[in-house]
Point group: C3
Chain length 320, copies 3
């Protein structure tokens, strides 16, 4: 998945639409709101200095829009001066025991919508909707969510369904990216690599969203070790950071979202590793809690600085 | 309390004097120090880019200055290139079982001093002095302080005394603002709104200093829900942020002061809500711990950016 | 140790080489790598805006280089546009029960290397190598490490050996600085001051690296109180900050590295106190976890701003 390295100044870095609610203040779904409501949100993203947006489907579901409304969305994106390199479909697992078939159909529609919007990537995952107990928590990731079965049938079904989505994506010129998430078949570097390898499609890669794992209040795989395994298979990347506080003797762990420039995850080394590994995919900058858009903008500026890192000096890769 | 919206570039955003000690290095109270000592502190505030200062009375108590010394303070403020839109009287509850009458008299004097200094607002609260156990703590809010009685007599006394202060304030052209604080009659959105409503004076409003509640190591009311209730009654606003780390299953909560641009409180949405609600009062930026003045300055710049938010597009209020 | 105050704009503020690993990606020790590998790391430091570097010996040990390789290091530093005001020798205690003599010899060689490189300071400490349990921890300081014996023989040996190093340092025009670290004879302000006083050499001072103590998950001496005691004896200063979260009633403490501009340590007051105390030594900006170099650069900018503080106004020292 490695072509030539994009120019650091124009490497696509998209704002996640995560900080924008799916319901307007007057109570209607943003999905059904007039295009001006979409435009106002997208203008706010552009105002924060973004040129790209990831259409997180907790805001608007492109896959559920009529062709006419999809045109309206494309117009709103264009009018805001943005492009959309990606749609991220969240909590729509194609092996969800309750809604696998609906989610598969939805994912297919989302791929078509992505193609219509000129997206390079559609990102999907195997995580399921938040449980009531997770919704009650201040930070949902501090409560365990559903866990994928580890039986061989589930694995095969995941492989075949994701391969089916990949074939569809390939046919319309889109890449499919698989978002890593705890307690799913994409919940560790080894499992994620094995899954994408079993799928075995040029159109399917990983989204090494390792912030999802780093923030857990339990022992974790070291970030850079996991990343090293995933990078050769990655075609899209949700980046975000956390402060991780651990009292080793008692096992107490607490985390909170933090800007990438000052969080506990070492993105300087991560991005060097990505450049060395030939990663060329787009990025999506995320942040939970507080002012998600402002921190995402700061993450973008920080990330763009790192992407300027000069590998031409033969010694650089030695440095880390 | 909503006139026309102030211009974002000149909307008063005052530095709290909280980071400045009430005692000089040579051991004298700043209250009694020569005007040059006041001037040096105020110059430092101006040097941090402020044009307004909140005269937090842990630094200097304007209400206890002679007219001549009050003139000296006014001169020091002017010389530093500042104005003082507010005095914040801290821990001077007019229903404190130990010092209610003294505090009432002091609050009256503070209102007069505020008028003399050209302040628009005097902020008072119902919280009492820190207990010894709170003073020993690294962060005082992690130890429970005194709790207001919930009997009807206490409530009536609070209403009548605060109304009395409001009447005085109105007579000298000043607004009285009531700072929210845990375990007082101003300790929840509902109670605060009920109190200000019972007082029923145009000269009395709320100071929705919800950082005071957000930082507590116990379950809390969601920040934006509480704010929504308080905004229609608010005439001044101490803003500050915290990181809030919660392990939901165990109930463990830890907090630390954080810049507003990257703390866990969503001030982007809060300020949009305030603009929609027609809030027009001054702001005071605070920060505890570390470099309070530097973070306050950063909070000011962040806040001013948010105040530029354009509501003219009819769709914007829908966005949040 | 106080000459005239350096100019704030050129006061030496060195980047610690801490964020750079001691092993290259191809597995060789950086110690043995070609000069271009050194040059690439130093260029990255310069690219972050630094003009000075602290040669932390976890990266390269100047004391173990041949004269020719030391020249090569000097050339690499020069080529990067940097100077090296200091070498920091880490975990090489001259009273380590296992390796005291080796460490003493190494410290002597490091002083000679420092002189050859034009360093003003060599910083040493009494902390020993991390224990296996510390290496397993997410943050090593959350696990207790070795503790210096408090018997009089250990004390005398520390005094005589550090005095011996100081005499050597003085003879080649270098200052020796003693880094404060928990559970060593330099583990509290009182003990550190007593130790440096017992040594009694103009060439030996303290490195009040109080971040080392502030980050501990146990009760601590207040930062500014400890600093006040140490400042008159300090000739070098590793600065860094942490968020410190404490639940006082339960005694729970968690910490995480944070930028100096927004961490919980009050460096504004600390630097004022240092200027008042006549501190004139170089600084070294550190940061653990995440992007150590980026935060160090931010720490440098923040620190330089504080160093511009104007003490000429007679009232300023009164302000704090």
């Amino acid at each position: 998945m490695s072509d030539s390295r994009p120019d650091a100044d124009t490497w696509p870095i998209a704002a996640a639409m995560l900080p924008f609610l799916g319901t307007t203040t007057s109570g209607t779904p943003v999905q059904d709101a007039p295009g001006e409501v979409w435009g106002a949100a997208l203008a706010e993203v552009a105002d924060a200095g973004f040129t790209e947006v990831d259409l997180t489907d907790s805001w608007v579901r492109p896959g559920d829009l009529t062709p006419q409304r999809l045109d309206e969305l494309a117009g709103a994106i264009r009018s805001a001066g943005l492009t959309a390199p990606a749609i991220s479909a969240i909590r729509r697992s194609v092996i969800d025991p309750d809604s696998a078939d609906d989610n598969l159909a939805y994912s297919h529609r989302t791929i078509d919508a992505g193609a219509a919007l000129g997206c390079a990537v559609v990102s999907v995952g195997l995580h399921r909707p938040l449980l009531p107990e997770q919704q009650k928590a201040h930070w949902f990731w501090t409560v365990d969510g559903p866990r994928d079965s580890d039986d061989p049938e589930t694995w095969s079904r995941a492989v075949s369904r994701l391969r089916e989505l990949g074939d569809h994506a390939a046919s319309v010129g889109v890449q499919l990216s698989l978002e890593m998430y705890e307690d799913t078949l994409l919940g560790s570097a080894d499992s994620a690599v094995r899954l994408v390898t079993d799928i075995g499609s040029d159109a399917v890669g990983l989204n090494p969203d390792l912030g999802n794992l780093y923030r857990l209040h339990r022992p974790i795989e070291p970030f850079l070790d996991a990343l090293a395994k995933c990078l050769p298979h990655s075609n899209y990347w949700h980046v975000k950071s956390y402060l991780r506080l651990e009292d080793f003797p008692s096992g107490t762990v607490l985390t909170a979202p933090a800007p990438m420039d000052s969080g506990s995850m070492n993105y300087r080394r991560a991005i060097k590793m990505a450049l060395e590994a030939g990663y060329t995919g787009p990025f999506c900058v995320e942040h939970y809690g507080g002012d998600g858009l402002a921190v995402a903008a700061r993450n973008r500026d920080y990330l763009r600085g790192l992407l300027r890192f000069d590998l031409s000096d033969a010694a650089s890769p030695e440095v880390r």
